[in-house]
């Protein structure tokens, strides 16, 4: 059994409820209902335990965290526990007054999601009318950056084949909102995104252009806006160091209190997740079977076991390995050295093709919606 000193970040999925229905949502296909959600007091205890364990950052996410009426209280609790709080939000349901309350409660960082550069396509991707409100909200966030306690503002854009051709316009549109940071994250293929992969995966040429666009923006905006990009690993030679290694840096608590090593770990069959209602965070970190499962190197097959890169990428992503090969212990097929790398090559050949969707994107919004009906799986809301 490998002991790890402590996690650095806690991802708190405080609810799965969400007004958006994004086609690339990273939430599990089986969502937690409101009745099963942890109570305020449970979360406050978890934040305290996390800080005592050495956690520095708290990421409040969902679903839409604003759907929790006690969000202000949770942020206040995080501040009392000395955690750095980051709110990951669509902004839907956030009024100017409520934003001021969250900032007053001690929020450090707000990360606002955008779906596209213009109203029609953005709302279409989100499955909701949301774009105009986000623009207004960005202005309100800026109002809080001139005062004594200044929150950081990040715009988050998920990139995929349906919007990748507008990347330059999207960056320009977001730049006008004056964020401190832009996150340009290519969709990762889990949950709803995997289901919609054939409509989302960009081609190699599209990705190369996107990388060049981002590099130019980085150069131009240096010192003004920090840009962090996440590339789609299907086009990489080696896998991503998923979560910085299994059970090494991060802990995720789902709305019902289950502690997971990552967002997607629930897809791996036979996994048993301990609940914060039954155990302290310290106990879970050290002892939970789920956190032990792929820690260290003992579980690794060849070619990982003898590979020099194993200390950098930790064998890649266990959930992706399972979702694509059916075996969670397999080398992540993204790796060009993986025995089943052809699964990725096949997906890129079959799914990463320009076709139906980009052409109809030129159509007026209502025609687009009709043409595309039945083409997507939108995430549903928990009951």
């Amino acid at each position: 059994m490998t002991q790890y000193s402590h996690p650095l970040a806690l991802i708190a999925e405080i609810t799965h409820r969400c007004p958006l229905h994004c086609v690339y949502c990273s939430n599990p296909l089986e969502l937690t209902s409101r009745q099963e959600e942890l109570a305020t007091a449970d979360w406050l205890r978890v934040f305290n335990e996390a800080a005592a364990l050495g956690v520095l950052h708290l990421h409040l996410t969902g679903g839409e965290p604003l759907a929790r009426a006690d969000l202000t209280e949770l942020i206040e609790g995080a501040r009392k526990s000395r955690l750095y709080s980051n709110l990951i939000t669509s902004g839907i349901g956030l009024s100017r007054e409520r934003l001021a309350q969250l900032v007053e409660a001690g929020l450090d960082h707000i990360q606002l999601s955008f779906q596209d550069s213009t109203e029609g396509p953005a709302n279409w991707i989100a499955g909701a009318r949301s774009h105009a409100h986000k623009l207004e909200l960005a202005g309100w966030i800026r109002e809080h950056q001139t005062r004594e306690h200044r929150i950081a503002f990040t715009t988050n854009l998920v990139v995929h084949r349906q919007n990748i051709e507008h990347l330059e316009e999207m960056i320009a549109a977001l730049e006008a909102l004056h964020p401190d940071r832009m996150e340009i994250a290519h969709a990762q293929y889990y949950g709803w995104a995997l289901r919609n992969r054939s409509a989302l995966l960009p081609t190699r040429a599209q990705l190369d252009r996107a990388v060049a666009v981002v590099a130019a923006a980085e150069e131009r905006l240096r010192g003004k806006i920090r840009i962090d990009m996440v590339i789609p690993d299907y086009h990489a030679r080696f896998p991503k160091a998923c979560m910085g290694g299994w059970g090494r840096q991060l802990m995720l608590i789902d709305p019902a209190g289950r502690a997971l090593p990552c967002h997607a770990a629930g897809v791996i069959p036979g996994m048993r997740f301990d609940n914060v209602r039954d155990h302290g965070l310290d106990w879970i970190w050290q002892n939970s079977e789920a956190f032990q499962k792929f820690r260290g190197e003992a579980w690794m097959p060849e070619p990982c076991r003898s590979c020099d890169r194993r200390k950098e990428d930790f064998g890649g992503c266990r959930c992706q390995a399972f979702l694509l090969t059916g075996d969670a212990s397999a080398t992540d097929p993204v790796c060009e050295l993986a025995p089943l790398h052809r699964l990725i090559e096949d997906a890129v050949r079959e799914d990463a093709v320009t076709g139906l969707a980009p052409e109809v994107l030129e159509a007026p919004f209502h025609i687009l919606q009709e043409k595309m009906a039945g083409f997507w799986s939108y995430r549903t809301d928990p009951k």
């Binding site: 950052h57 750095y84 200044r150 929150i151 950081a152 503002f153 990040t154 010192g223």
Partner: protein, 91 residues
């Protein structure tokens, strides 16, 4: 990128602050933290919005009497510029 001059007043950028413990302080920023020790810590403690670049260099001079002034200034500049590019320090 903004120029760092003697008159610049370096301070933490939005959403960046001290955290960790007194024995092991860290600078927290969106999505990350840096552990600062020794000279780096001394410089960042002076980045509270009260001191100009020239004053920071002056304070370090009295503390590190054996180091040449030009070298101190160059080191502070490189350090702050790196943190500025990461949007941790504004000036």
């Amino acid at each position: 990128m903004a120029e760092l001059s003697d008159a610049s007043v370096p301070k933490f950028a939005a959403g960046c602050r001290w955290g960790g413990t007194t024995e092991a302080p860290v600078v927290l920023f969106p999505e990350g933290a840096i552990r600062v020790e020794g000279t780096g810590r001394i410089i960042l403690e002076l980045c509270d919005g009260h001191f100009s670049m020239a004053e920071i260099v002056e304070k370090l001079e009295t503390q590190f009497i054996l180091a040449p002034k030009d070298k101190i200034r160059a080191d502070v500049q490189t350090f702050l510029e790196q943190l500025h590019a990461k949007r941790i320090i504004d000036y």
